[in-house]
C-alpha cells in the first residue's frame, strides 16, 4: 500500500482510522504482556507439533479392557516387546522398577506383546511379576504406530496424548529415565 493511499484513507474517515490504530496498539500491548515482558524459566517446548498417539482399545492378558484414551493425563510408555526377544527381556525389569518409582508421579507403562499366542506371555508375566498391563498386539496396531519391524520399540506419550519420543532397539535404563522424567515434569 502506498503512503498516499494510506493518507487518503485516513483523511476519508479520521475517526475510524483512529479507532483502528488504538485497537492495534492495544493488541500489541496485550501480546507483549503475554509473551515477552517477563522471563519465563523452565518453559517446556511445545509438543503440539508432535503426532497424536494412535488410539487403541484392547483386552489385556488378564481380561481387562486396555483403552489408551483412559490414560490421558498420564505419561505413557508404550513398549512393543515379545517373550522371545532377548533385548526386550533385558528391559522388562527396568520397566517394572520405573513403574514402581514413577507411577505415583503419573507414569503408566503399557506392554504390547507381539508374541503369536498368549500362553508364553502369561507365563513370563507371572514369572517376572510384571506390574503394568500387557496386551497382545497385532500388525494393525503396529502399522498405526508407523510400523514395528523389529523389537524392541518404545513410544513415550505425554499427558496430552502426543508421542514425544521413540526408542528403537534396546536402551539403557538411564536413557528411559531421562525421557520419562522430562515428560513427567513438562506442563
Amino acid at each position: 500500500m502506498t503512503g498516499s493511499t494510506w493518507d487518503s484513507r485516513l483523511r476519508s474517515d479520521p475517526g475510524k482510522a483512529g479507532r483502528k490504530a488504538l485497537l492495534v496498539l492495544a493488541a500489541l500491548i496485550l501480546l507483549s504482556v503475554a509473551t515477552g515482558c517477563k522471563p519465563r524459566p523452565n518453559v517446556t517446548p511445545s509438543t503440539t507439533n508432535k503426532p497424536v498417539a494412535p488410539q487403541f482399545l484392547l483386552t489385556d492378558i488378564s481380561g481387562q479392557k486396555l483403552d489408551l484414551a483412559s490414560f490421558r493425563g498420564k505419561v505413557v510408555l508404550l513398549d512393543f516387546w515379545a517373550t522371545w526377544c532377548a533385548p526386550c527381556r533385558t528391559e522388562i525389569p527396568h520397566f517394572i522398577e520405573m513403574q514402581n518409582r514413577y507411577g505415583p508421579q503419573g507414569l503408566q507403562i503399557i506392554g504390547i506383546s507381539l508374541d503369536d499366542s498368549i500362553k508364553p506371555v502369561l507365563k513370563y508375566y507371572a514369572e517376572q511379576k510384571m506390574n503394568y498391563p500387557v496386551a497382545l498386539g497385532n500388525d494393525e496396531l503396529a502399522q498405526a504406530y508407523g510400523g514395528v519391524l523389529g523389537l524392541p520399540v518404545a513410544f513415550l506419550i505425554d499427558r496430552e496424548g502426543r508421542i514425544v519420543w521413540k526408542q528403537t532397539g534396546e536402551a539403557d535404563a538411564a536413557v528411559f529415565e531421562k525421557q520419562i522424567a522430562d515428560a513427567l515434569s513438562a506442563r
Binding site: A82, W84, D116, D139, L149, G169
Partner: protein, 142 residues
C-alpha cells in the same frame, strides 16, 4: 567363583550361544544386498520370524513359516521343505531383533542341514528387518 558354579555358567552360556544366529558359519550368511540381487531368480525364501512383523512387511516372494525358535515353527519348516530337492537354494531370514540375539535363524538353519539340504543361506539382518531392509529401500511386499 566355585568350579561348579563356573561350569553351570559356561554351560548356560554355551546353550544360549547355540541358539544365536551368530553361530551359523559365515560361509552360509549373505547380506541383504545379495538377496536383492537374486530376487528375480525367485529362490525359495522362508521367513522364520514373528507373524506380526511379516504381516506388516516382508521380502517379495517370501513365505511365512513361523518362529523356528519354537516347536511349531520347526514343524512348519519341515512340512514346507519336505518336497523340495536337497540341492534347492533355500534362503532363510528373520529380522525380529538384532542378529546376535535372533532366536530363529540358527534353529531353522540347523534343521535344514540335519534334513540334508545343501544349499541353504541365511540373510544377515544386523539390527532388524525394518532397519536393514525396509529403511534401505529394498523391495517390500505387504
Amino acid at each position: 567363583m566355585k568350579p561348579g558354579i563356573l561350569l553351570v555358567v559356561v554351560l548356560l552360556s554355551t546353550f544360549a550361544q547355540g541358539q544365536s544366529a551368530k553361530t551359523v558359519d559365515s560361509k552360509y550368511v549373505i547380506e541383504p544386498t545379495t538377496l536383492v540381487s537374486i530376487l528375480l531368480q525367485k529362490p525359495t525364501i522362508l521367513n522364520v520370524g514373528p507373524k506380526a512383523i511379516y504381516a506388516q512387511a516382508h521380502v517379495p516372494g517370501s513365505e511365512y513359516v513361523g518362529m523356528t525358535s519354537q516347536p511349531d515353527g520347526i514343524k512348519a519348516l519341515r512340512n514346507r521343505v519336505k518336497t523340495l530337492p536337497k540341492d534347492k537354494l533355500i534362503v532363510l531370514y528373520c529380522g525380529c531383533c538384532p542378529w546376535d540375539v535372533c532366536p530363529n535363524i540358527a534353529p531353522a538353519f540347523n534343521e535344514l542341514k540335519t534334513l540334508g539340504f545343501k544349499n541353504v543361506r541365511v540373510v544377515h539382518m544386523a539390527r532388524n528387518f525394518g532397519h536393514d531392509w525396509v529403511d534401505m529401500g529394498f523391495p517390500v511386499a505387504k
